[in-house]
Amino acid sequence: MTTTTQGATQPAPIVRIEGVSKRFRRGGEDLTVLDGLDLTIPEGEFVALMGPSGSGKSTLLNLIAGLDRPTSGRVVVANNDLGAMSDGQLAAFRARHLGFIFQTYNLMPVLTAAENVELPLLLTKLPSAERQRRALIALRVVGLEDRVHHTPRQLSGGQEQRVAIARAIVNDPTILVADEPTGDLDRKSADAILDLLVKLNTDMKKTIVMVTHDPAAAERATVTRRMNKGLLQ
């Protein structure tokens, strides 16, 4: 495990979070989930966010992913100030820069593996044949080229998550966000997924931000940041 270091050779930050607070109103009560948080993630880093439930790690991930907006402060991802963007601009930003990996895989049950992987490419202007070619390459990267026409129901949990990872990388995103990617998997499948994420980080230089409860998962990241009560420790 290492911690972030600031130095002259450090790559440019892909994520800059400056004084970000996030407050919710729940049951008539104000809830501060993030409290003036600062964070910089350099390009090519594999960051694990850990912390107890309610510490604000998923909220932070959602802010980085452009799924949520801060109550105050700035979130800048790939030189985009997310707070200044409209809903439509945020959707376009996610399509261009983000790859999502969810705990429960979130594949479309009625679509085949290849069709699921192709989904993000439908938001590009690529012709159908090129989209299918890229989906196939992504499935090959995750080792599922023989499951192209299988639907999620015909796959194991680990395979489903690998399809989800193929979907996350198919449009060559700037950053991958993973929310408990191994949370629903047994140890063996979880290790395979983590191997894949490490490979994406080292071989394809993908920046990865991963929220996890699993210390074994966090070990595989290059950096682990711990959160507690809305602050980074």
Binding site: R94, M108, L122
Partner: protein, 389 residues
């Protein structure tokens, strides 16, 4: 754009719900299509009688043959107009006929119904080239014989070949032939000798209508001006096509209005059905919607996807309904024609236009039924949806 296959396959996955909702739409579209086919049948049946180069002359102000009365000297004057074509034997190509309505027992029911009886001369068949005696023979002039239209033959007591019926008390007519005319309104009439009929009903020397064939369709205006400006005659002159158009209008419009009212009324039920189905689909697929939104699909594409699904669902039902209505063409229906107050037999007549309108109607039901659920799906909060079921 969310792939169309996503919407279509989701319909297939919940096949039972899809089938039940589509069936609701199918029933409404069935009523809608059947009514239009019936109205079309009425128009076609009546319109079939019309020829462009034939003019119908009725007494001024009468809205049909039944109410019209033209005395024989006037009828002779009309048939001898210069615009009227001549037969090879030199006589005018025209017919002057009497119409009466009689009441007969309807077979298969306890009731009675009106039947139109046309008093004709020997030129009646020759004047109408599409008509022929399908069975039996033509009636003999001056006899107590008659021929019966194909549509009503066998539907009333005494109206089958070889049978007889009372046209007036103690005055029987014997059926010697069956008339065919491609399902036109003439097939719902009985034809008897004009003089026999006139004497049976004690009519003076008059007829109900005069039909003349023009030397050319373009001579109509000239004939009309000549006859209508003759104050002695006091007649209305119409093209035969226009005459039948007007005759069928009332009945067709009435059927169409009632039917469409029923269809539109029931369509609300079908739309609510589609709405409930689509609401359930949105609720069950919250996480999928959240995922699509997270991947970058816009609110509009989510809205379009669910609307498309709803429209496809309705179109499925619409296609089934329209197809079922098409099968109605084998059913013959008799209704009272408002112009003659006598029974007339129609077929449901499907046309490509009616099938297209039925599908459009189904699509509109899907669009309206799916609108609220689709808007709900589009407005869903991404994070809540991702946490959802």
């Amino acid at each position: 754009m969310v792939p169309l296959s996503y919407s279509v396959r989701n319909l297939r996955v919940r096949a039972t719900t899809t089938a039940a909702t589509a069936l609701g739409v199918a029933m409404v579209v069935f009523v809608f299509a059947a009514v239009l086919m019936l109205a079309q049948g009425i128009k076609r049946t009546m319109g079939r009688n019309g020829a462009d180069d034939v003019a119908v002359v009725l007494r001024d102000g009468s809205d049909g043959e039944m109410a019209s009365d033209i005395d024989l000297p006037a009828a002779n004057l009309i048939t001898n107009a210069p615009e009227v074509r001549r037969r090879p034997d030199g006589r005018p190509d025209a017919v002057a006929e009497t119409m009466v309505v009689i009441i007969l027992d309807k077979l298969g029911t306890d009731g009675v119904s009106n039947v139109a009886v046309r008093g004709v001369t020997e030129d009646a068949l020759a004047f109408r080239p599409t008509m022929r005696i399908g069975e039996g023979r033509a009636l003999r002039p001056g006899s107590d014989e008659c021929v019966v239209g194909r549509s009503i033959a066998g539907r009333f007591r005494g109206l089958a070949l070889g049978q007889s019926f009372e046209v007036k008390k103690n005055r029987r007519l014997t059926v010697v032939g069956i008339l065919d005319d491609n399902g036109s309104a003439y097939e719902s009439e009985v034809w008897a000798d004009r003089d026999t009929l006139r004497s049976a009903f004690g009519r003076a020397a008059s007829v109900s209508s005069v039909r003349v064939r023009l030397t050319g369709a373009g001579r109509f205006a000239s004939l009309r001006t000549a006859l209508e400006s003759n104050r002695q005659l006091q007649v209305d002159v119409k093209r035969e096509t226009q005459f039948y158009d007007e005759q069928s209008q009332g009945t067709a419009t009435f059927i169409q209005a009632i039917g469409l009212l029923v269809a539109v009324f029931f369509s609300f039920g079908a739309m609510i059905g589609a709405m409930i189905t689509m609401h359930a689909a949105v609720a069950a697929r919250q996480r999928e919607i959240g995922t699509l939104r997270a991947l970058g699909f816009s609110k509009l594409s989510i809205l379009a996807s669910f609307l498309f699904e709803s429209v496809v669902l309705s179109l499925l039902g619409g296609a089934v309904g329209a197809l079922a209505a098409t099968a109605m063409r084998f059913v013959h229906l008799s209704i009272v024609n408002f112009a003659t107050w006598s029974e007339i037999v129609f077929e449901f007549t499907p046309t490509p236009g009616i099938l297209a309108s039925s599908l459009v109607f189904a699509g509109v039901m899907g669009l309206f039924g799916g609108m609220f659920p689709a808007v709900r799906a589009a407005r869903i909060d991404i994070l809540e949806a991702l946490r959802g079921a």
